[in-house]
Amino acid sequence: MTRPLPSRWIRRALDQAPVLLVVLVLAGFGRMSDRFLTPDNLTQILLQAAAPVIVATGMTFVLLTAGVDLSVGAVMFVGAAIAGKMALAGYAPTLCLAAMLAVGLAGGGINALLVTRLRLAAFIATLAMLFIGRGLGRWITQTRAMNLPDTFLHWGSANVLGIPGPLWVAGAVVLIAQLILSRTPFGRQVLAFGNHPEAARRAGVRTRPLQAAVYILCGLCAALGGGVALTQLGSVSPRFGEQYEFDAITAAVLGGTSLFGGRGRVFPGTVLGAILLKAIFSGLVILQADPYLYPLITAVIIFVAVLLDSLRTHLLPA
């Protein structure tokens, strides 16, 4: 039963597992193609990660309360559908995006209602919302694609102080989220609630508003992320936002967030998770990997990431 503890510097390394892995992946692809590690391409990767990061940030909050929100993709779609219709009807893009955020607010609000008031299991409630949202979106768009006015694309590719707009948005979201989590009473209470809801209630935490806030926050992030994606795509297809729920959860968990609540961080955790996913895809394209091998390679890399993380959390003494 005697177990030798890993040597100090191995421990140090494991402590930074997520960061290390992203670095490793980047370095690895970098070695294989001199095209990969160019500042330009790194920016591209960040750009592709922008929307997922935003959505995953909201998701992280929900996961921290031991909940889950499967409806983010659907919310994105409904929002995009409405925004798209408005855009085609000639409304100003700002208005369209505002509408989109409103949708996010509404979606999050409904989820909050279902989970806190009606006491539904988050999984099943948001699953239902996923179906409803998808259906609603298809109905609004009549499952037709919409090509948006170029203003959207201009926004998506606009630079402020040499940094692309989407990165500003994502950066702001992450920063705020991180501050909320680590520096505000609300953030700490979210962690407490996720760790032991009953105790949180006993301690006088107003758990219902707290839970509600988390789902609304997630809805907002979903809409915002959708907005960013919209300005990057310049169009809305019937599959807009599909799979986002899984990508968001994956990013968060890759970043070390526990699905059982109480543990996790937006930065660097979730952010790195999202970036990792995009970096892999970009690398594979640049290396002209066999299309059939994409999922295989991606899977292996994610697997290693998760493995390292679990080694870190379990092989190391508290």
Binding site: M1, N195, R201, G204
Partner: protein, 523 residues
């Protein structure tokens, strides 16, 4: 234990309304009555002791005050005015603070954050940020009051149970309440911390704060409380100034029958400490694990009940966990009847070991599972018939029923009820029960009777004796020296991870044992 039981001369006590009063409170759970027309009050500047059997309804009363539960009927009053809390927020607003029976801490947060979860000091300038420095200072101030040396930023998961208990108390103090309710706050504290706690309570009393103190340690209750309320099956069966009660009277009121001694006499007479049996049942040699225990060696003879005394943090639990294969040890060896002990809990259970953990909620029970499932868990294998390990459900049923009666698990509890809904003491009985069922040859008990009422304790001691008489060896870790003295054939004392003393039955002496546990030559 020094405790001035003279209540402060509060002159106009009659004129002032009681700090809290229960008026004909009734509460039931899904048709099962738990509190029946409970009526009593607690005065400001006095400590009211609340005692009763496991499942009598004590914690339920607290939960009513805390707003975690609502009474079915009856009236609560705080300082004379009606009080109907809808949530723990209301309780705080009314100036009521709690030390709940079960720890309500968040291991993933720091000590400071746990202390001020709901009233973090805000940074200046209306921003929602937490003022970290202020937070740390206030936390330190509270920690000093309970003698916790830790840095306020330490994550709570690093603290052992005892220290967590102190933290819980510190949190209650932080609330600046005028009414403080302590539900078995001493269960994982050892003598030193207990004394410290009672000092605190006396100081608070002189500040005119009302306290309700729930405990099964009747000695403490009689020493430190001014008024007493005795609860049985949800009814108040006795109340009045503590001076009017003796331990015997308390017990008979609680249990509803005479209980002339607290510890059963051992028959046949215990093995004399000096005579070492040829083949010790358990032979521990030089167990060492850096930072936990150092060079622990002792032997456990068949039929022997061996106690381990020590202060919190002495490493007793660690020792137990190492013996059961839960924690690693750097050096030393453990032999059972000469054979070296290997592997994890499963292997060791096969070797006849059993281990009652001190952390019942996280390691002892499946809270959501039923009473029956919990009781049966360890011994399921014995009721499984090969090839497909088919379960003999009736057999399991009878075994469960047997142990339930033996341990007097509250009759209001059904087998199918989730353990979560049991009273603290009844939960402890369930953990104990599942191990007793396995009739182990070596039984390791870490704080076996924490939260268990006198009546049930007696039964449990008898079970332990019966096991010993059948030749099992028993290792009892307890923070109650009286318990060890009353139960054991021999007592080892641990201090800072080392053995610091050994007392055979003949030479039991509370003061010496305490000295051995406290005395610090090093550091």
């Amino acid at each position: 234990m020094k405790g001035d039981t003279t209540p402060p001369t509060s002159g106009g006590r009659e004129t002032r309304p009681p700090a809290v009063s229960f008026e004909d409170i009734e509460k039931g759970f899904f048709g099962v009555p738990v509190l029946k027309r409970v009526r009593f009050s607690a005065q400001a500047g006095r400590i009211t002791g609340l005692v009763g059997e496991n499942g009598a309804g004590k914690s339920t009363l607290m939960n009513l005050l805390g707003g975690n539960l609502q009474p079915d009927s009856g009236q609560l009053r705080v300082n004379g005015s009606p009080y109907a809390p809808r949530g723990s927020g209301d309780a705080r607003a009314a100036g009521i603070a709690f030390v709940h029976q079960e720890l309500n801490l968040f291991p993933n947060l720091s000590i400071a954050e746990n202390l001020f979860l709901t009233e973090f000091p805000r940074a200046a300038g209306g921003l929602p940020w937490i003022d970290r420095r202020k937070l740390r200072d206030r936390a330190r101030h509270l920690l000093d009051q309970v003698d916790l040396a830790h840095d306020p930023d330490t994550p709570v998961e690093r603290l052992p149970p005892g220290e967590r208990q102190l933290l819980e108390i510190a949190r209650a103090l932080g609330a600046q309440a005028h009414l403080l309710l302590l539900d078995e706050p001493t269960t994982s504290l050892s003598v030193r911390e207990c004394a410290r706690l009672f000092d605190l309570m006396h100081r608070l009393r002189t500040r005119g704060i009302a306290m309700v103190y729930i405990s099964h340690a009747l000695g403490d209750v009689l020493n430190h409380c001014d008024d007493l309320v005795i609860l049985r099956d949800g009814e108040v069966v006795g109340r009045g100034p503590a001076a009017e009660f003796t331990q015997e009277r308390l017990v008979s009121l609680m249990v509803g029958r005479e209980l002339n001694q607290l510890y059963p006499v051992r028959t046949p007479p215990p093995v004399p400490a000096d005579s070492r049996p040829r083949e010790p049942l358990l032979d521990v040699r030089g167990i060492t694990q850096p930072g936990r225990v150092r060079d622990i060696s002792f032997r456990l003879a068949p039929g022997e009940i061996l106690g381990v005394a020590g202060l919190m943090g002495a490493g007793r639990s660690e020792l137990a966990r190492i013996l059961f294969g839960l924690d690693p040890h750097a050096s030393g060896e453990i032999r059972v009847e000469g054979r070296p002990l290997e592997g994890g809990p499963r292997r060791r259970i096969r070797e006849g070991l059993a281990f009652l953990t001190e952390d019942r909620r996280h390691e002892g029970l499946c809270l959501e599972a039923s009473v029956a499932d919990n009781l049966a868990l360890v011994t399921l294998g014995q009721h499984a018939r090969t090839p497909v390990r088919w379960l003999d459900l009736p057999g399991i049923g009878t075994a469960v029923a047997r142990i339930r009666d033996a341990l007097q698990v509250s009759t209001r509890v059904t087998d199918a009820q989730p353990v979560r809904t049991l009273s603290g003491g009844n939960q402890q009985k369930v953990v104990l029960g599942k191990w007793l069922l396995s009739e182990p040859r070596i039984l390791i008990l870490d704080e076996p009777t924490r939260g268990i009422d006198v009546g049930a304790r007696f039964e449990i001691y008898q079970w332990i004796h019966r096991l010993a008489d059948r030749g099992s060896g028993i290792l009892v870790i307890s923070s109650e020296i009286e318990e060890l003295i009353g139960l054991c054939d021999r007592i080892l004392v641990m201090r800072q991870g080392e053995l610091s003393g050994e007392f055979p039955r003949g030479e039991f002496n509370r003061e010496q044992i305490l000295a051995a546990a406290l005395h610090t030559s090093t550091s």
